[in-house]
Symmetry: C2
Subunit: 322 residues, 2 copies
């Protein structure tokens, strides 16, 4: 095995140009030194992606790199934060140079697309797993949290739902056309960073849909002390999902499949038009899917729809502020 020092130097150092704004000292010392902006809160989160738990080990390496970062960046999006920096902890059984090349390309590509500087990390021997810590900034007092939802708010989701679970189902059936829209959704999710920032000042609460719409709505309800009524017929289904799974499983995927990395937001009814307009400017739909109620609990979803979907990653959980 090549020395990990060499591996790191070869694959992960170029990501930090010395002149990059906000990086005083990048990869190569005991710590990176970063320059926070005045008046901003620092938003931080970590997510670990484990092979065969969170993604198929045989997925394309560049997709694995992209996806591991996307999952973490999605948490910044949900706070309305701008992405700034990340650290990557990579565990792998052995060092395959071609695999690492592809992996790094996927990771760096999303870094570049989102303005995120990779400022450090470590490499250890073990089962393939990628832990990504992300750091972003959001103006003081403007962060979107899970706890601000109010009775009377509308619930809305960005983009479309079920693509993550649908893509995984296709992958498990042997589909390997990486251009298939569902595989793109599953393997290369795009964190909704611009949308999160655009919704600051409009949304009362937000969360990213990683565990599935129902589970994540449950987190918002719990943190905000409210209930919700969902309009299941209104859920925007991912392109190709109905054809791939049929209507019942498609709806279950949209409700409970997870891995969509869209945003679920709660916002006053009179803010919806402006929110739709702002996201349209980003090329992204914002679809009303329900209302927030004062009575606790969820209505509008038949029991049978709640229990039909076994999610690949359901055994694991993100925890705490991540």
């Amino acid at each position: 095995m090549t020395s990990e020092f060499e591996l790191i130097a070869r694959h992960f150092t170029p990501a930090v140009p010395g002149s990059r704004a906000g990086v005083s000292l990048g990869v190569g010392d005991d710590c990176a030194l970063l320059i926070p902006q005045p008046g901003m809160r620092l938003a931080v989160s970590v997510d670990t992606s484990v092979a065969e738990v969170h993604f198929p080990a045989a997925a394309p390496a560049d997709a694995i790199g992209h996806r591991a970062l996307a999952v973490s960046l999605s948490d910044l999006a949900a706070m309305g934060a701008e992405a700034r920096w990340c650290l990557m902890a990579l565990a792998m059984a052995d060092a395959d140079d071609a695999w690492l090349d592809d992996f790094a390309r996927g990771f760096h590509g999303l870094c570049a697309a989102t303005g995120t500087a990779l400022v450090g990390g470590d490499v250890t021997r073990g089962e393939l797993a990628i832990g990504v810590t992300v750091m972003g900034e959001v103006p003081e007092g403007e962060a979107l949290t899970r706890g601000g939802s109010r009775a009377g708010d509308l619930l809305a989701v960005t983009g479309s739902l079920g693509g993550g679970a649908g893509g995984l189902a296709l992958w498990q059936r042997g589909e390997r056309d990486l251009q298939h829209p569902l595989l793109v959704r599953y393997l290369r999710p795009l964190p909704r960073l611009d949308a999160g920032q655009a919704l600051r000042g409009l949304a009362n609460a937000a969360i990213d849909i990683s565990d599935g719409l129902l589970a994540d709505l449950g987190h918002v309800m719990s943190a905000s002390g409210v209930g919700a009524r969902l309009d299941v017929e209104a859920l925007p289904l991912a392109e190709g999902l109905l054809q791939a799974l049929g209507p019942d499983r498609a709806r279950q995927a949209a409700l409970g499949g997870g891995d969509d990395y869209e945003l679920l937001v709660s916002l006053p009814a009179d803010a919806m038009e402006e929110a739709v307009r702002r996201l349209a400017g980003l090329g992204l739909a914002l679809t009303p899917v329900g209302t927030v109620t004062a009575e606790p609990g969820l209505s509008g979803v038949a029991d049978t729809a709640l229990h039909g979907w076994q999610h690949f990653g359901a055994a694991d959980a993100k925890g705490g502020a991540t």
Copy 2:
């Protein structure tokens, strides 16, 4: 297996009192929101500790928790930074409540002792491994780096050397007296945060001794473009090391054993007295061990001493800014 959400709530939420300075929003949302102090650089690093690579899986759980955090905090110490916040990514095969209790106690104990707030993390299923991201602060322009060493400087180390490797050797021989000074050094290293801060304005360069004195001195030499002459007879050996290993292996442990988490600093000769005085105030020795030379390369160490020690964790490497 208990839901990971419950596990996290039970074991890791209490670490963040809501009123804690610098934490605007702690565990429980998509991100934590932190309040950086004006005029400070943010120092960040991540280190992953893997069972049977970086520590024995059978070590006491509280020591595993303590040690995983200590290893990361040691990088903040080496920059002269103050510890502020951390995130923990825990992978484990199954959830043993008693083990988690002990693990959390060790982790939280060092959080409390160092003023570090645990603000988030995640739990995944897998081989036991703990990835800890630490964030600290250091006044702008005052960080200690690896690159500032100058010819003519003295080299000095805090505390004593060889305790990490000596403790591991004892553990592998079956020693289980957890009060043995070498086992304390190996299982419960104390990151030299106060010392690192006290050396700001005096030291030209610093690094923490995680890979072994020779390897870490090599990093400083390489980053600073200097050479060094070591006085091997001057190395301060950990308590009990000579008795446990005999003189040859004791010296090898001090030179190459790693896991000591002391600081190696390079400082002008006329700053040594003040540096010793400041560290004495912290109850910590600072021992001159060599000089920095303009000629590259290392002298003062016989070849035989360089190659005698196989370090438990040598196969893995911290990488980049970590």
